[in-house]
Symmetry: C2
DNA sequence: AAAATACGTCAATAAAGCTGACATATTTTT
DNA sequence: AAAAATATGTCAGCTTTATTGACGTATTTT
């Protein structure tokens, strides 16, 4: 009987109705973004496990390859993490020969970051399955549709 | 002179050319997805810090609200994490009164999960800024465009 | 009665982030 | 020239979120 009562008391507070698209909130697209990104990063994650690297290494290798010569400060800004968080990951990539540092030619305090050939190869290998997944998602889509998706994704950024 | 030489040796391996859209790989959209998701989760993150919760709690609260009565196994499948990872987060949410468990009516081994009113309120509060951001990204877009974006995001999922 | 299932939990570990503090080299400002 | 600011590196300690492996309990299925 006491157990029965506490169960009833609890049940009284519970909501059994699904939270649905209400009050102008589109829960469906919120979930779609979650699932899309979850699977999007799962591809490179599998590859990275073999090298002993993680998602953080992927991001660094990617952006340094996209913009060789970027500084540590640029990278911090892009990734929106702290200097100390980046330090460990960056050091491992430098020690492993994927990234090199060069003192800035004008401002010698700066450390400009460049990929090695191994770093370029790694970045390409990681991008490939992601690219395949994106192509699959775009299958049959027009150029206009592709542009619409890109415009949407750009609009999702805070900096715009 | 030795310093000069080692610098030259290093420079020989470096790649100064940006990794651009080549070999059918669209790096731009890969980055757009990264930035879009980075900012998309930053909104709820700010709110969650106040409650002492994290991103993991958000995901659990969201899905339990979306599908009240889902089991622990359902949640593990959805989030694609391990039972032990979920355990701590779920326990905290139950102890804090955001989620309740009820033994399954047919299969009493199951623990069906339901939000409390506080849990529903939290899920809504977290979804609101995300919804605003999505609306901003869709500003001026047609219904057809919105559908195209959703179709793309669906296509990004492994399970499809 | 035995096996499988759903869940909970203990222990140990790792990756990735954080804050704060401080050091060094270099450039800019006063 | 001296002082302040900047770019980077590093030390130490901490937190969150995840992992694997092992084991226990209740319940259902075989």
């Amino acid at each position: 009987m006491p157990r029965q009562m506490s169960q009833n008391a609890a049940r009284a507070e519970l909501l059994a109705t699904p939270m649905q698209n209400a009050g102008s909130i589109d829960f469906e697209i919120i979930e779609l973004l979650f699932f899309a990104y979850r699977d999007f990063v799962s591809d490179p994650d599998q590859i990275l496990i073999k090298s002993g690297f993680g998602r953080a290494h992927h991001r660094v290798v990617h952006f340094v390859n996209r913009e060789p010569g970027m500084t540590v400060a640029d990278l911090l800004e892009t990734l929106q993490i702290t200097k100390q968080s980046l330090a460990r990951v960056l050091k491992q990539l430098i020690d492993s020969g994927y990234i090199h540092q060069v003192a800035g030619p004008e401002d010698r305090r700066q450390r400009k970051l460049y990929p090695t050939q191994a770093g370029r190869d790694l970045a390409l290998a990681l991008a490939e399955p992601q690219s395949r997944r994106i192509e699959r998602a775009f299958e049959g889509a027009s150029d206009a549709t592709r542009e619409s998706v890109k415009r949407f994704l750009r609009g999702m950024q805070t900096g715009k």
